[in-house]
């Protein structure tokens, strides 16, 4: 097995893993295999989907579906879905909902979170309880639907934003972050006569950029990925976000016709399906490196404080 575990001289020369003994060669091989397979299982589907969406239609029909190595690059599927029609519209809806929703969520959440950190606030404890208790009790699907209906939000883009605009969990994370800012600065600003809004916008927010970015990205990913609220609240297909289009034409495999697309030449169905998938994945892939830099910290604050 391992020689360096028993010979202290060699062990000291090798890098230690947080004080643990270095892994044995056998374990190293096993881990290398496990991680390579796991990473391949994640990466291969993306490669397959992106390749197919960009492969020439003849090749896709010949392969009968996914293609791993395109013979040449062909963007006709993208031309077809992005030149007007249901996919283009859905992309617009998803972008609008994500941008407006994220801005609204961030504004409302930081206002609430900041107020909860201010000792002068009347009923501070009661308000905090209101937020915390809502974490434990979910109102249930039907009563929520009836409430949304009674507010007249059915069949509107607002139904994709407003009901999920406030996440109690995110408010608690933000409150923990705001609460950890040094009191002295806030007190100084107060003495200088700054209003609460002014303290929030010119001191707290600039000092919390990283936290707000993480929470904002979590909200944005939530809005972009939301499928069920669209299924529940929208009848009119002109308002569908991308996820619903994906469900209809990719998961349920309904054919996309010229009528849906406003394009004369319709490429092979698999190419179109893959192109829709790519369009809905790309924004996530674009923000991912950025998201990833911050989220470990964000997720941890939430898990430990929350």
């Amino acid at each position: 097995m391992s020689t360096h575990a028993r010979t202290p001289v060699r062990r000291r020369r090798r890098p230690m893993v947080g004080g643990q003994l270095p892994p044995s060669p056998a374990a190293t091989v096993v881990k290398a295999v496990v991680f390579s397979v796991a990473c391949a299982l994640v990466i291969l589907p993306f490669v397959g989907i992106i390749s197919t969406s960009m492969a020439p239609p003849e090749q896709v029909s010949r392969a009968g579906g996914l293609v791993l190595f395109p013979e040449r690059l062909d963007f006709s599927a993208y031309d077809a879905i992005l030149s007007g029609g249901i996919v283009t519209r859905a992309l617009g809806v998803s972008v609008i909902v994500t941008v407006c929703g994220t801005l609204l969520s961030l504004t409302v959440s930081s206002l609430l979170a900041y107020t909860l950190t201010r000792r002068a606030l009347p009923f501070r404890r009661a308000l905090t309880m209101l937020v915390v208790i809502s974490l434990f009790f979910s109102p249930g699907l039907l009563p929520t639907y009836l409430a949304v209906q009674s507010y007249g939000l059915l069949n509107s883009l607002a139904s994709l934003i407003v009901p999920t605009a406030l996440s109690a969990f995110n408010v608690i994370v933000l409150r923990a972050f705001f609460g950890s800012l040094p009191d002295d600065i806030l007190d100084a600003a107060e003495i200088d006569g700054a209003s609460e809004i002014r303290i929030l916008t010119s001191i707290v927010v600039p000092l919390s950029k990283a936290a707000l970015a993480v929470i904002g990205l979590f909200y944005a990913v939530g809005y972009w990925n939301a499928f069920f609220s669209a299924l529940l609240y929208l009848n009119d297909s002109t308002m569908w976000p991308l996820q619903l289009v994906l469900r209809t034409y990719v998961v349920d495999d309904n054919a996309i016709t010229g009528y849906d697309l406003a394009a004369e030449a319709i490429p092979a169905q698999p190419s179109l399906q893959m192109a829709i998938l790519v369009v809905s994945v790309v924004p996530i892939l674009l923000v991912y490196p950025w998201l990833q830099k911050h989220f470990a910290k964000g997720a941890l604050t939430g898990a430990i404080k929350g």
Partner: protein, 287 residues
């Protein structure tokens, strides 16, 4: 300044919570909640009377929960232990980045990806056909439904779930390992006596949270695939509430099921927490 947030909280958390009274009424949409007749506990007979559709949904829910706790739950722990023991920081970060990614994809995308690879016209079957071999059917086969959704959950979230475990592991004091090493503990003994005990509180915490969610299993994921496999294999309590309530318009009955489900969830969390205290852990909150 707190007003917009509080309004949203009241409108979409607390008002709907009160809307659960339709479980005790014969709710008719055209006359509204207030005017609908009270019927007492009549709607709950669907549960006590053992309505076959309900029993089926409950059964499927329990099986899926059991699979998730027994098979899916330990995977991120093992992954985290393996990741934690990687010597190279660069490789560790690279593997983490790749494995976290699927968490940020929507269920629609995950289901679509699985279909493209495993479906009847998917890549693997196409390959088998081109070799003249038998194809296999996973998507749309009721017997394969639970393995299928389990694989999807593992693919999507097991990488992400390692975050917490890794965070805890990174805080274990190196002195503990050195002390263990001086006492002659090998790798496995170090893992058994230092690493695993460090993980114990977080494992207990997550199990408690999981227990509270025991009756909610993969709503979006399942509803997306229900058409293909049929209700017998795929109906769970959440989809039952949706199908019976919104699709079939049996509002009050479905709300009764939803209410009981929510209440059981709260009781399970509180009960599990009590249990955690008995075993000397902190659980969700301290005594």
């Amino acid at each position: 300044m707190a007003v917009p947030g509080v309004v949203l909280l009241l409108a979409f958390q607390y008002v709907p919570l009160a809307g659960n009274i339709i479980a005790f009424k014969d709710y008719l949409p055209f006359i509204g909640i207030a005017e609908s007749d009270w019927v007492g506990l009549e709607n709950f007979e669907i549960i006590t009377g053992g309505d076959p559709r309900f029993v089926n949904a409950l059964g499927n829910t329990m099986i899926i929960t059991l699979v998730q706790v027994v098979l899916v739950f330990p995977i991120p722990i093992c992954l985290a232990l393996a990741l934690n023991s990687l010597v190279s920081e660069r490789i560790k970060r690279l593997v983490q980045s790749v494995l976290y990614l699927p968490h940020f994809l929507s269920w629609v995308i995950v289901v679509a990806v699985f279909q493209q690879f495993l479906g009847g016209a998917g890549m693997i079957n196409n390959f088998l056909r081109s070799q003249g071999w038998d194809t296999f059917s996973i998507i749309g086969d009721p017997d394969a439904f639970i393995p299928l959704i389990t694989a999807q959950v593992v693919w999507k979230d097991s990488g992400w779930a390692t975050i917490l475990f890794l965070a805890v592991l990174s805080q274990v004091s190196t002195e503990l390992y050195e002390a263990a090493s001086v006492d002659g503990a090998g790798r496995w003994r170090q893992m058994w006596h230092v690493t695993l005990p460090a993980l114990r509180p977080i494992v207990v915490l997550l199990l408690i949270l999981k227990l509270g969610d025991a009756l909610s299993v993969g709503f979006e994921q399942i509803i997306l695939q229900q058409q293909a496999v049929g209700l017998q294999a795929s109906e769970v309590l959440d989809t039952y509430v949706y199908n019976n309530g919104i699709v079939d318009q049996n509002w009050s009955e479905a709300a009764a099921v939803g209410l009981v489900k929510g209440a059981v969830g709260v009781v399970l969390v509180l009960g599990a927490n009590k249990l955690a205290h008995v075993f000397g852990e902190d659980g969700l909150y301290r005594r």
